[in-house]
């Protein structure tokens, strides 16, 4: 009897380890996560508009149908990325996700405070290589550090009424993301 109880306690402890390790391994093992879904639809380092979600089809679950959405799937291995997104009339936001869908930075039109959201995305290493004087002179230059080399930038523009969806999509169509060579010292 005691022996059986010991075996069961052992099983519970091992089960706990199995549980925790599978939960931690899930983000790297998942094949249907947002990045994998989008890599079939989008080229790398370019802004691509996503189809509006409908009852028949939606790129990702729980997409907000009131928003026009465009995605820039980035890969920083060749250099830093420059993003420029003009603002739509209503509400525009840009959210940065790591390869595993962790939202590490988000900015909206009001925080940007200008007619466009403009920023540079680079890895920590690339940021360290930016000449210091350039960092100081361009004080209004917004630099974001990406925790991963690859990831997603999701641009969202709100259509407050269905009739304004064309306006929101047009605003996003003018958005750009491109790799630019990091100036060497």
């Amino acid at each position: 009897m005691i022996r059986l109880a010991l075996w069961i306690i052992g099983a519970l402890l091992l089960g706990g380890i199995v549980h925790l390790s599978t939960v931690l391994a899930m983000p790297t093992a998942a094949t249907q996560d947002a990045y994998s879904r989008l890599s079939q639809l989008t080229p790398v380092n370019a802004v691509v508009p996503l189809a509006a979600p409908s009852a028949k089809d939606s790129t990702m679950p729980f997409m907000d149908p009131a928003f026009a959405v465009a995605v820039c799937r980035y890969d920083l291995s060749a250099g830093a990325l420059k993003l420029r997104a003009p603002l739509s009339q209503a509400y525009t936001s840009v959210t940065f996700y790591t390869r595993n869908s962790v939202a590490y930075y988000a900015i909206n039109d009001r925080a940007a405070g200008r007619r466009a959201i403009e920023l540079d995305l680079m890895t920590e290493e690339q940021h360290a290589q930016v000449p210091e004087e350039e960092d100081v002179t361009a004080a209004d230059r917004l630099i974001i550090e990406s925790p991963t080399v690859r990831g997603l930038i999701v641009l969202r523009a709100l259509a407050p009424e269905p009739g304004l969806m064309a306006m929101a999509r047009r605003a996003l169509a003018a958005a750009q993301c491109r790799i630019e060579a990091v100036p060497t010292q």
């Binding site: 075996w7 091992l14 549980h19 899930m26 996560d33 679950p61 907000d64 509400y91 869908s101 590490y104």
Partner: protein, 192 residues
Amino acid sequence: MRLFLGSCFTLILAAAIGLGATWLTLTRGVAFGALTIGAWTAWPKSGSVDIDPYARATIARTGELPVGAGDGVAFYAHTDDAGNALDGRCTFVVSGMTPAARYWTLTLYDAQGRLVANTIYRHGFTSAEILREAGGRFAINIGPRARPGNWLPSGGIEQFVLVWRLYDTPIGVASLTTKEGPMPAVARKSCS
């Protein structure tokens, strides 16, 4: 022999417990740091780097992208205020006021996060298009049959999910507490 049988039993039981617990937590959407106001629950940390391992695993499995913390907050409702499941064959009324935000949207999904087909192509409302009463209060009827005013068709599906997204809200993630509501009330009216 006894040792061999015992270790086989332990290993099989351990695998069943571990994988079963993982499956349960990921399908139920367990995450820490939930903020519940009435029928609505948000996980503000899921939109930041402080996201917990369970929410990360759930997001990786479903393929959704959470609303970033600098963008807004998403509140989910699976039941009404009294705890009744959101059944598409019944009529529900969502009414009241919302916390301050520049824009909000309310969207109806099925349990898997897909939009629900209907003849008027209405899947939700935004704060700009809703019809309001004097004083800024509003009421949204959710049900299978057309209603006057703000009608959100539920298509008669068995279980639907409501998602309330607040965009550019001055309520910071850190300061967002239950007291800072009010979130709109959700009440069941009738079932056909």
